[in-house]
Amino acid sequence: MSKRTLPRLLQSPAVILLLLWMLVPLSMTLYFSFIRYVLNSARRPEWTTPALSNWRGFGNYEYVLFQSKDFWFAVQNSLFIVSSILILTVVLGLALAMLVNRSFPGRGIVRVLLISPFFVMPAVNAVLWINMILDPVLGLNGLAVEGINDIIHSLKDFPVLGAFFSMWPDIVPISFRATQTSAYAVIIMVTWQWTPFAVLIFMTSLQSEDESQKEAAILDGANAWSRFRNLTVPHLARPIAIVVMIQSIFHLSLYAEIEIVSRGNGNKNLPYLIGEFTSNNIGAASAAGIFAVIIANIVAIFLLRMVGKSMMD
């Protein structure tokens, strides 16, 4: 056996499995995206089995792009949700990592409390937030607003200030079950879940920061802001890029949260739209799937350029 054969043999199960996993379903999606294929059709029963004779060319793509009204909305919404989460988690993650990076009593417990949301399964995360916290009537959202209204009402009875408070209107709790607000709900719950991840990574990275450099900067009279700006920020550039990349991978295919929070209210991202098509129009679902693959690839190429190379060091 040559020197090269054994290593290849050892890698081959993993490579073959992943190759099959990637290629077989994807080529089927590609095929289905070019034919007329629906699950139920009383009018055209021949369309319910996949066959080359139902060839449609780019018809499914045209349908998805121009006729189905939801595609652009879904793409836009996907990007809106992903970028909001990215900005929020990076900003919050940086702030919290700096906060927890100093030593103080109970730091270990603070870390454990902070990291916990990351391990909550997505389905529980969504059910917990939308029902028990954000619900406008029964959730803490509704109860808190009711409490504030009660306080204002009781203040109205005061002699002089009462006149001032009686001008205040009752606050109405936001319902997170409408199209747009449920996107906010998704952003809130995913940010809650993924900020700990950003904190963990930034903290790990802050601990490897060169202390002697900082002390030299202090001796040179650099103030806290310029130390942060000129030493810490460049040091954090790579972990920030990594946090952005990993989260983009996960959040572009966000599904469980949307499914649980938004079912039936019109809020959707691309994976959810594909899921909707899949209940009948497989051709359209496949074309939308190919678009999802293309978008993921654009993002991936962009991000891998940014960080991929340095990850190998």
């Binding site: 054994l6 290593p7 199960p13 993993a14 490579v15 499995l17 992943l18 996993w21 990637m22 077989v24 994807l26 089927m28 999606t29 919290l96 100093r102 103080f104 009593p105 603070v110 870390r111 454990v112 409390l113 902070l114 990291i115 916990s116 949301p117 990351f118 391990f119 909550v120 399964m121 389905a123 529980v124 059910v127 917990l128 937030w129 029902n131 619900d135 029964l138 109860l143 809650w192 700990p196 963990l200 990574i201 002390e215 202090i218 972990p239 990594i242 990993i246 991978i249 295919s253 599904y255 469980a256 499914e259 994976p271 899949t278 497989i282 799937g289 693959v293 960080v307 991929g308 990850m311």
Partner: protein, 278 residues
């Protein structure tokens, strides 16, 4: 940072208090879930029992009657355990070969494996359903869930193991080769004992990812192989009727994993960044 921070007396009190306050805010939803799980369904939606109520264990005692909890929990345990094992069985030899006998293509193969993670699952939803239902007949079986969970985690497993194995001095492996130890012996008797911590944390993290997976486990199962994700997803909108019992079953579903997660915080960083941040 602590060595150089010129903390004022105000800062010495303020920053730790702020850190504590934020940590409590972040943990609060989990606390609230656990807290609500001890209320009856009726009490859970009454403002007057918001903080003070008569705690009950009924929600936990009735989990089987209410939700058939254990059937789903056992499915989660079975599929996550076997998927993790399978991923390690396939991943360890591959990572071993990549770490100690790298070829010109090793970097490319690793990058390609990473890229399979970027394939949006939704794009291949129907083909997967079609293949497993109509063609292979393995829809809604433990075997399918195990296989899929293994495949989606395999890139992370190989990346993680690769970074751990690279830290093992090459000379030790070479020395084993000189002494005529077989490849299997090298992996089993030299590499695994040396990189034991790395292998264990890879396994732990993979198990957590499998447990929390919520796309394929929901879409490729109906009853037989349905996991806890499917159970919770199926009871998504209790309309305020069942907050108590739903909290209990949710707590039971996430509790063990949160505790497991506390033990592998450090490894989580390496696993999720594919070894890029250590």
């Amino acid at each position: 940072m602590a060595t150089v921070a010129q903390s004022s007396r105000f800062g010495k009190v303020f920053w730790p208090v702020l850190a504590w306050a934020i940590a409590i805010v972040f943990f609060f939803p989990i606390f609230w879930l656990i807290f609500t799980s001890f209320k009856t369904d009726a009490d859970a939606v009454k403002p007057e029992f918001l903080f003070f109520f008569k705690p009950t264990l009924d929600n936990y005692l009735n989990m089987t009657d209410n939700y058939d909890y254990w059937r789903f929990a056992i499915n989660s345990v079975i599929t996550s355990t076997f998927a993790t094992t399978l991923a390690l069985v396939v991943g360890v030899p591959a990572a071993y070969a990549m770490a100690f006998n790298p070829s010109r293509h090793t970097k490319d193969i690793l990058m390609w494996m990473l890229s399979t993670k970027m394939l949006p699952a939704a794009a291949v939803l129907y083909p997967m359903t079609f293949l497993t239902k109509n063609f292979l007949g393995i829809y809604d079986t433990h075997f399918l869930v195990i296989l899929v969970l293994c495949l989606i985690n395999l890139p992370i497993v190989i990346w993680m193991l690769f970074t751990y194995f690279k830290e093992v001095p090459k000379e030790i492996i070479e020395a084993g080769k000189m002494d005529g130890v077989s490849t299997w012996g090298e992996i089993k008797d030299i590499l695994i004992p040396l990189a034991w911590g790395g292998v264990a944390s890879t396994a732990l993290l993979t198990f957590i990812f499998c447990w929390n997976e919520a796309y394929w486990t929901v879409r490729l199962t109906t009853t037989e192989a349905a996991t806890l994700s499917k159970l919770i997803e199926g009871n998504r909108a209790p309309e305020g009727l069942f907050f108590g019992r739903l909290s209990a079953v949710s707590t039971a579903a996430v509790g063990p994993i949160i505790i497991l997660g506390w033990f592998c915080q450090k490894q989580l960083v390496r696993g999720l960044t594919f070894g890029a941040v250590k």
